[in-house]
Symmetry: D2
Subunit: 299 residues, 4 copies
């Protein structure tokens, strides 16, 4: 379908930071795209020795440039690389598709071995598309905003250096919910529900559910169980003196939070537009990743 | 406001089955309603010796009659009584409000001690109203529907008599999800997330979230964690031979399931219209019921 | 070593009840033992068409006869078959070794494929031996003992037919511990800690620990967490009226408990003497069974 | 009984560091002890303005001096103060008794309000005594011991600053157990099982059980459940490059662990000798602290 083809005339390639093992799949995909006449942008941090037949159509550029020019970004690496790319590119509305270099990821569902073929089909319009909810976080200190972040998986308030529990109060939509003494609190999207939140005993939330999960980390009060809030919830966490803590976005960006800071978290107006091959299945991915495959009937 | 008053001209009273300790609050509320000129219907199972000043305006009737005639049903008892009433009256669209006879319930938030005053305010329009999602369940055997049920909290497939694990397969929207060996599976609404599902390590789900939770009971596969699905999910559970099991609706209705039966569960077109006093707060109720009150700051 | 050889002159073979798929490994092992001049007893329920070269040394006998005459019992099947055998033979002090017919079991660690070789080594004294703690259970009704049982894994008090929570009180060493409202209570040995108790969120307990675990099933009180008691603990559970329930031993024997019955559980004076091949490792078995093999370093 | 009285002729008082709110109870207890002719030692860090009638029998001394001279140490504060005192004084074999200044602690079971009376009875021999197991920890770096610590509750290896999961390998008694990717690992005594380990979903372990619990913090592998090992277990944890981490003893002492360091943990030869009033009950304390008091029968 020509309209589909023209829709994806400029394509960005993003690799894991400074990892040479993505060099080969990226070179292959780039060559494949150039052959079909596309313009190829390579994210500058990817920093690889690309050996390409037709280098004039390949530009090494910043995420900002990718955001402004690319019709699609192909992310080669693991879920971590896709998380970085999502935070950088979602504000520009660039759709992403992930290529894993080995094991299937929660977010990267094309296999490197068959990526070129899958990408060809994708460029012909054979794909499904999903909008994944993201979170905005803002730290307020004495009335001023001192940090802003964006997250696809989660915003985590966590104890820092000292290794002691922190204490904080949680309000939702300006209503008091609870004071908590714990190692911290994970605020997760459905996408993030299978990441850090899962290891903290949080529930799996299907990406089709509009919700935000609060998952305590080692709460002192045993009844302080995970809760899923409506996606419209505006969450405010106030760190009590004399505690200090950290805020993490997707476990990748970090900001040091001081006593009496307010951490404000709510649904972002940006969504990740994530593309999948037609055979993608969320449940099949869960079975594979969580090893549900030990089907009792096969005993 | 007269329009509000006239909106509630016929009011039903429902008490806990055969429990005399609801007799006094029900008589008081009935007298109070009669004084203001309302017609009072009393659910027949409530079976109490009511001693009322103006008995001509009081009729003892079936749930069906309540459904057809009442503008509002006041349920006096615990959450259990409210669950029965919800399943009986939600199909008629009758709004419910719950009066507890002691401890606050998850669903019954008026206190018997101050019920008359609260009801007066409610009849004047001072209340908030919520639509709580319900579940339809249907058991299919050899192509025929052998059971239909409705649930406000949960539909539970559970091992029966033999005390052994059961095995079943789960499909969602006609897609295979997993085969499971466990004591059973709780399919819960957000309302039910604080009931049985909570004791099975399920997540709390705010009633404002559109979702259905699957919470395994003692799953043999440890990674088989609770999952929240979109409220549109159509869930099909097939019990494998040679197992037999039970289906429970709200822990109150029960049906015996045979091997190869299919249990089909989906969002009901009926919702419970639940009324609350203006000061009602979901989070305050959770704090009270889950004893989050041990606020760490007060130490 | 001749003393070792003579120590095991009469050997019993126990297979899974009425399952023909253990016929071949049992026949092979029997032939192998007869060749080396041993007397072979076959448990009567095993009920197989054994086709053996030297049938005069093979007797089909009851568990009681095995208990009185055998120097060793080789159990071919899964953990379930070993549990039955342990309850039947531990009172006689007969050591057991388990042969699995496919996947490694928690208790059956010889593989059927290499069983003959492993048994030869075992009969030459190449094995390790472990004493596994067992539990005695006694149900008292109006001062009389109405049931006695023995368990290797666990004694479980569980709700029955009605599907509703049960209520009971727990005393330990005549001291009140708690009243509980739940689906039941698992009382598990360290051996049982990796069985049903694990799926109910109980802790793994190494068999070298002297302890008894109490693991609630869906406790209404969320803080009612699993607890490990000293192995000397005498546990008394009183079922409150109007509840009825079931007691299960190893999920295989069952007794119906009435309101006001007392279920008394304590360490048995019988232990299972479980033999393992020299290369057996408890931790390796856990890694295999719990799939810890996904070693993070291999990513 | 005079022998009992003479047994406790020199008594140490330890208060919470720099907290004036223990001044009054400590002064009262000191005056009470001086009246009965005892010598009173006050831990120097307690640093209070004591206003005592007979100051010649009161000495402000170091923990070392208390260890060498005291027959008993009375600790006034919370569980935290008792943990410090236990690590300091257990090596000298000084028995401890804890006085809480408000809410009952897990370890401090005399109430400040009635402490003098309770202490009088204790000095007359009315008490029970318990030996609580402790843990030794040693960090080895390139063959050298770079840290030694002692813990009553737990030794915790935990991710530090960076907020990312750490990776480490665990050996027990020189046998490989697992490699783990997680936020860290709690190694807890039965005493510590109701502290940090409990909030990380660890099991409660009665102090009469000889065991050491391994409780993962947010393990990446969901089947990596808590395990209780025999108390004789020698645990070696090797932190994999490029990770750095922290070791905490009782959440109070801390050491920075580098990649390839080995953290060696085993039962200490020191025990805490903890005294309780005769009416002390472990289960009653659990009921109080975990709020099991919501007895279902009282509904």
């Amino acid at each position: 379908m020509s309209s589909t083809s023209s829709r994806y005339s400029t394509i960005a390639l993003v690799g894991k930071f400074d990892r040479s093992d993505v060099s080969e799949p990226i070179s292959q995909i780039a060559a494949h795209l150039l052959q079909s006449g596309r313009t190829v942008l390579v994210a500058e941090h990817t920093g690889l020795d690309l050996n390409l037949p037709n280098a004039s159509n390949v530009e090494v550029v910043s995420f900002e440039t990718i955001g402004k020019r690319a019709d699609l970004a192909i992310v080669v690496g693991g879920d971590g690389t896709l998380l970085v790319s999502a935070r950088k590119l979602a504000p520009y509305g660039v759709p992403l598709v992930g290529v894993n270099r080995g094991r299937l990821g929660f977010l990267t569902d094309l296999s490197a071995a068959t990526a070129c073929e899958a990408i060809t089909r994708l460029l012909q319009g054979e794909f499904s598309s999903e909008r994944r909810q993201m979170l905005d976080v803002r730290v307020e200190r004495a009335g001023e905003t001192v940090f802003r972040g964006l997250a696809l998986n989660d915003v985590v308030l966590q104890k820092g250096d000292a290794g002691r529990m922190i204490e904080f109060g949680v309000h939702i939509d300006n209503e008091f919910v609870y004071d908590q003494r714990s190692d911290g609190l994970i605020v997760a999207t459905p996408t993030g529900s299978t990441a850090y939140a899962l290891s903290a005993n949080g529930p799996i939330i299907h990406p089709g559910v509009g919700g935000i999960a609060l998952v305590p980390l080692c709460s002192h009060t045993l009844t302080n169980r995970p809760i899923t809030l409506p996606e419209t919830a505006r969450i405010a966490i106030r760190l009590f003196a004399p505690h200090v803590a950290r805020v993490h976005c997707d476990g990748q960006e970090r900001f040091d939070v001081q006593a009496d800071d307010q951490v404000m978290i709510e649904r972002s107006r940006h969504c990740l537009n994530l593309l999948h091959p037609p055979e993608y299945s969320y449940f099949a991915m869960l079975r594979e990743k969580l090893r549900w495959s030990e089907a009792p009937r096969e005993r």
